[in-house]
C-alpha cells in the first residue's frame, strides 16, 4: 500500500484502523476522522464533503468489495492536517474498474437504486484515485483558503 505521489502524504505516518465488514463498523473511522476535523476547525461544508466521501467509500468496501462477508474486514488509513485530509479505504474483494460504472445522472440511470457513490466522491473531493486492482481508494480533500 503506497499513497499516490500527488497526495503528498507519508503512508507510514497515517493512522490505521481495521474494522469489521459492517456498515455500523464503519462508524468508528468516521468518528475518529470527524474528531480530527473538529480539532483542526474545518468548515461545515468541508466536513460534509469528507463525511459523504468517506461513507461512500466505506459502503462500497462493505457491500460491493467485501460483498457483506462478515469474515472480511475493511482497512482505513487517514491523516488530517489543518491544510488537507487524506483517507485510504481498502477492502478484501477482487476489485473493480471505476471507469465502467455508468453515469448515475444519465436519464436511463436516474432511478437506479445505487451506483452514485463514485460520482459523489469525485464531486466532493479534490482528488480520488484507485489502486490498479480497484480494491483500494484514496481520497484527498484540500482545505480551501479562507477570505
Amino acid at each position: 500500500m503506497q499513497a499516490p505521489s500527488e497526495f503528498g502524504v507519508d503512508t507510514s505516518q497515517m493512522q490505521e484502523l481495521v474494522v469489521p465488514n459492517t456498515l455500523s463498523g464503519a462508524k468508528l473511522p468516521e468518528d475518529r476522522i470527524m474528531a480530527e476535523l473538529a480539532r483542526c476547525g474545518y468548515e461545515p461544508d468541508t466536513v460534509f464533503a469528507i463525511k459523504l466521501a468517506l461513507e461512500e467509500a466505506m459502503t462500497n468496501a462493505v457491500k460491493h468489495g467485501n460483498k457483506l462477508d462478515s469474515c472480511k474486514c475493511v482497512t482505513v488509513r487517514y491523516d488530517v492536517t489543518p491544510q488537507r485530509v487524506v483517507i485510504m479505504v481498502r477492502d478484501q474483494g477482487c476489485g473493480f474498474r471505476p471507469e465502467e460504472v455508468p453515469d448515475p445522472t444519465a436519464e436511463e440511470n436516474l432511478e437506479r437504486p445505487n451506483g452514485r457513490g463514485i460520482m459523489l466522491m469525485q464531486s466532493y473531493m479534490t482528488r480520488v484515485q484507485y489502486n490498479e486492482a480497484g480494491n483500494e481508494v484514496w481520497l484527498l480533500k484540500e482545505r480551501e483558503a479562507q477570505a
Binding site: 462508524k27 461545515p44 466536513v47 460534509f48 461513507e55 466505506m58 459502503t59 445505487n114
Partner: protein
C-alpha cells in the same frame, strides 16, 4: 455550529397528514447506516389510498447515496400508485447534492409547504 455533531445527529422521521397527503419530516442525518430505515419508513407510508408524500427536508443536515436511494425508491412506489413525491425546503447542502445527482428532476422541490401542497392539487 459544531460540524461534527451537526452532520451526525440521529435520523428522526415524523409524519403528519394534510388531507390525503402525508407530510414526512426527515430531520437529523441520514448517514451510515440510516438509509435503509428511511427507505422502509417511506415505503410503509406510501399506500394505494394515500400514495403521495411531501418530504419536509428543512431539518435534514446530511444525506448520502443510501438516503438518495431511499428517496428514489419512494418516488418509484408513489408513481406506481399514481401518486408523487415532492420535497420542501431542503437545507443548502442537501439541495446541492440532490441537484448534482439530478434527483430534483424526479422529486420537485418547493420553497414552502403551501407551494408544495398547491402543486399536489394542480
Amino acid at each position: 455550529v459544531n460540524p461534527r455533531g451537526f452532520f451526525s445527529g440521529p435520523l428522526k422521521i415524523a409524519v403528519e397528514a394534510a388531507g390525503s397527503i402525508n407530510i414526512v419530516c426527515v430531520s437529523g442525518s441520514t448517514g451510515l447506516p440510516d438509509g435503509e430505515a428511511l427507505r422502509q419508513k417511506l415505503i410503509e407510508l406510501i399506500q394505494p389510498q394515500n400514495p403521495s408524500v411531501l418530504l419536509d427536508l428543512s431539518h435534514l443536515t446530511f444525506i448520502n447515496s443510501a438516503g438518495i436511494g431511499a428517496l428514489v425508491a419512494a418516488h418509484q412506489r408513489a408513481r406506481a400508485m399514481n401518486g408523487e413525491i415532492r420535497a420542501v425546503q431542503p437545507t443548502e447542502s442537501v439541495a446541492r447534492l440532490l441537484h448534482l445527482m439530478k434527483i430534483d428532476t424526479l422529486i420537485p422541490t418547493h420553497a414552502t409547504r403551501e407551494h408544495a401542497l398547491e402543486a399536489f392539487r394542480a
